[in-house]
């Protein structure tokens, strides 16, 4: 189906792994990540331990590398806030 598109709300590890898995499972269409943060996906686990103890480190030390075909065909819409219209959603 050529008109399929993948819209992903959020871009933490769960959403990133979802997109990677879809690619590995054969999804070849476009993907768009919507995220409130200004950064692309990064590993949060070191934030409370290693990163705070070490000077001179930053995003590049915790950013997840893009793999499984997410290097291309993916749009990153960062620094956006979304609202969920539940009433409207029920009409789907």
């Amino acid at each position: 189906m050529a008109n399929q598109a993948l819209l992903i709300v959020g871009a933490s590890i769960a959403e990133l792994r979802t997109a990677e898995s879809a690619r590995r499972a054969g999804y070849e269409g476009p993907g768009t990540f919507l995220r409130a943060e200004t950064h692309r996906p990064y590993n949060r686990l070191p934030l409370s331990t290693g990163l705070l103890r070490t000077h001179g480190q930053g995003l590049e030390d915790v950013a997840f590398s893009l793999r499984s075909g997410l290097e291309e065909g993916v749009d990153w819409v960062l620094d956006v806030e979304l609202e969920c219209d539940v009433a409207r959603g029920r009409r789907w």
Binding site: Q4, I13, A14, E15, T18, A22, A25
Partner: protein
């Protein structure tokens, strides 16, 4: 067709390893495990796959957690809080030990202080039972 899936700590799901009750499990591997599954579900139809085949495959990630508290290393598998009884099966809590957690006759969790290889060996004990 609009297909919506949810992933991560916010979702409830049935884990075929235990029963058919959907539960929310905030567990450190669950964002990855639910993401893998969700991606397969999202991809199966656009890729020309058979959704029924995937749907028949149980979602059965084995929960685990660990914590290193200075010299004490805690490691657990399963869902220990489902247990009606817990039994010390090796060692002593003062040093190192293994504790089995059971619901009825079924093993639902195992937890160890130290004794990592013994605790690891329990992983194969968690299997999806065919009703």
């Amino acid at each position: 067709m609009l297909l919506v899936v949810a992933v991560g700590d916010v979702v409830r799901y049935v884990n075929a390893l235990f029963d058919s009750i959907p539960r929310r499990v905030e567990h450190w591997r669950l964002p990855t495990e639910t993401g893998k599954r969700a991606g397969q579900v999202l991809a199966v139809q656009p890729a020309g796959g058979d959704a029924d085949v995937l749907a028949a495959t149980s979602f059965a990630p084995l929960p685990s957690f660990w914590s290193d508290q200075y010299e004490a290393n805690l490691l657990a598998f399963g869902m220990t809080y489902l247990a009606g009884r817990s039994e010390l099966v090796a060692g002593t809590p003062d040093t190192e030990c293994v504790i089995e957690d059971c619901r009825g006759d079924d093993l639902v969790g195992v937890c160890g202080i130290g004794m990592r290889s013994a605790v690891q060996s329990y992983r194969s004990r968690f299997v999806v039972s065919v009703a």
